[in-house]
Point group: C2
Chain length 292, copies 2
């Protein structure tokens, strides 16, 4: 029986852990919140208060944490995952962090006999609950195959995309494209609204042609109506764009439009839009064009 240590039981991590329990895995969940620990125990899991306890029995350790420093601390720290897990165990980071952090963990893990994968996801809270996440996996192919039953309990689109760090690279590209699509759609909508066009007819004809996209399908009506309930929080997407710019710099690649878009996301956070859906970026574009 495979035992999983799960660290990071937030909006995404909690439903993922529950799906693993449903799939029949033994699970030890780490949370500082006693309600979350109670929920775990109710569902037949064990609850841990520190990383060592969450890892010491586990065959597989999963982290789902907010940002690179969190992962670095929890995994590489003195009482972290790599110093607590059994040799031969498999570490899987499903957070969205820098590819560099994953490469460092893989290197350090190899020294300690712990294999590792980076496996960031897209699909949001709904995908986590419904077990329909897209999972982009970097690492050794054999480790990927070993983890496949776990990924199948969490997502529907699962791809091995390269060596350690490659999962995060593809996730970064995903966040780059989505941010750019929201920015460009924002410009188009503000322009159309300022020009006195019939918006419903315009969006229908745009969506039917080469301009069509998932972002347009999912977000344009709400953007036109200025309804920004998340969805995916704008301040988290801003954090991800920081990872993108850093990873692009390390890869020696210029991403000029993403640089601009990241600045507009930063402006959106400054304007108090961080807890809105990322499509609230349109409010920054509207503000640039507000007529006096």
């Amino acid at each position: 029986m495979t035992t999983i240590g799960f660290i990071g039981l937030g909006i995404m991590g909690r439903p993922m852990a529950f799906n693993l329990l449903t799939a029949g895995y033994e699970l030890v969940g780490l949370s500082r919140h006693c309600e979350v620990r109670d929920q775990l125990v109710e569902r037949g899991a064990r609850a841990a208060l520190d990383v060592e306890t969450a890892c010491s029995d586990a065959d597989v350790i999963i982290t789902m944490l907010p940002d690179s420093p969190d992962v670095a601390e929890v995994v590489l720290g003195e009482r972290g995952v790599l110093n607590s897990a059994k040799p031969g165990s498999l570490y899987i980071d499903m957070s969205t962090v820098s590819p560099d952090v994953e490469r460092e963990i893989a290197l350090e893990g190899r020294r300690k006999g712990i294999r590792s994968l980076d496996a960031p996801v897209s699909g949001g809270e709904k995908g986590a609950i419904d077990a329909t996440l897209s999972i982009m996996v970097g690492g050794e192919k054999e480790d990927f195959l070993l983890a496949m039953p776990i990924f199948k309990a969490l997502g529907s689109t699962i791809a091995h995309v390269g060596p350690n760090g490659a999962g995060q690279t593809v996730k970064a590209a995903n966040q780059l494209i989505i941010a750019g699509a929201i920015e460009v759609l924002s410009e188009a909508i503000v322009f159309l609204q300022a020009s006195g066009v019939e918006m419903d007819a315009a969006m229908t004809v745009l969506a039917g042609g080469l301009a069509g996209s998932r972002i347009m399908e999912a977000k344009s009506q709400a953007m036109i109506a200025s309804q920004f309930t998340p969805g995916f929080r704008l301040d988290l997407h801003r954090k991800d764009l920081g990872i993108v710019l850093d990873a692009a710099k390390r890869a020696g690649v210029a991403v000029p439009a993403t640089g601009l878009t990241a600045q507009l996301f930063a402006a959106a956070v400054s304007q108090g839009l961080g807890h809105q859906d990322h499509s609230a970026l349109i409010e920054v574009l509207k503000g640039l064009s507000a007529q006096a």
Copy 2:
């Protein structure tokens, strides 16, 4: 029987004129090229050598010309459409030009008893040949309804989007979104390629999620393989971005990412990519990141 005067029998205009003949319209086509005039006559149309001859008999006059100055000259000039057409006739511009030009034509036409519509298209040469164009129409609703049988002979998605000029505004938004999508996809592909990711697996997982778009479906494989046979010519998209920036300025709207993208399209033309497909923009991004 409706007689149509057709001015601008280029790559787009010629198959459109042929589709109107197939639908049973009488047609007078204007071309400076004798082979094109011969083709028209072969198919039962009449051929004209000047605007006056193309218009004098026509109930409907259609132009399909390269740019704003061409339309302004052909329509507003001394021996142009508005001075040659019968009062009560309908003028339809299907070129991609500035919304402002269309508003000026509508105003001037009204003085002379000639109604007008702007009806730019998307779908390219293939859409023109197959009569599957998307047609975005600005002007009076009753004129739109009058022209509907003509539009149905040319396209499959037909929408009335507002007053005169609104068709060009929506077309401008279409070109803005597509240019932005190509730019952002270019950045993502260059970044992924520089990062040693398995491209097929990466693009599959990206296309399956919120990052998916028609541009990604249609262009990413060719962009990865550096195959840029048009499609839609990059220098024409650059011209369209000039219209977008001008229209946005007149609407009082800032479009910062489109401004940047237009500069990169200009760089692509300078680098000799103007006659390639617009997705050849990726070569500019690659050049920015070429490793010494």
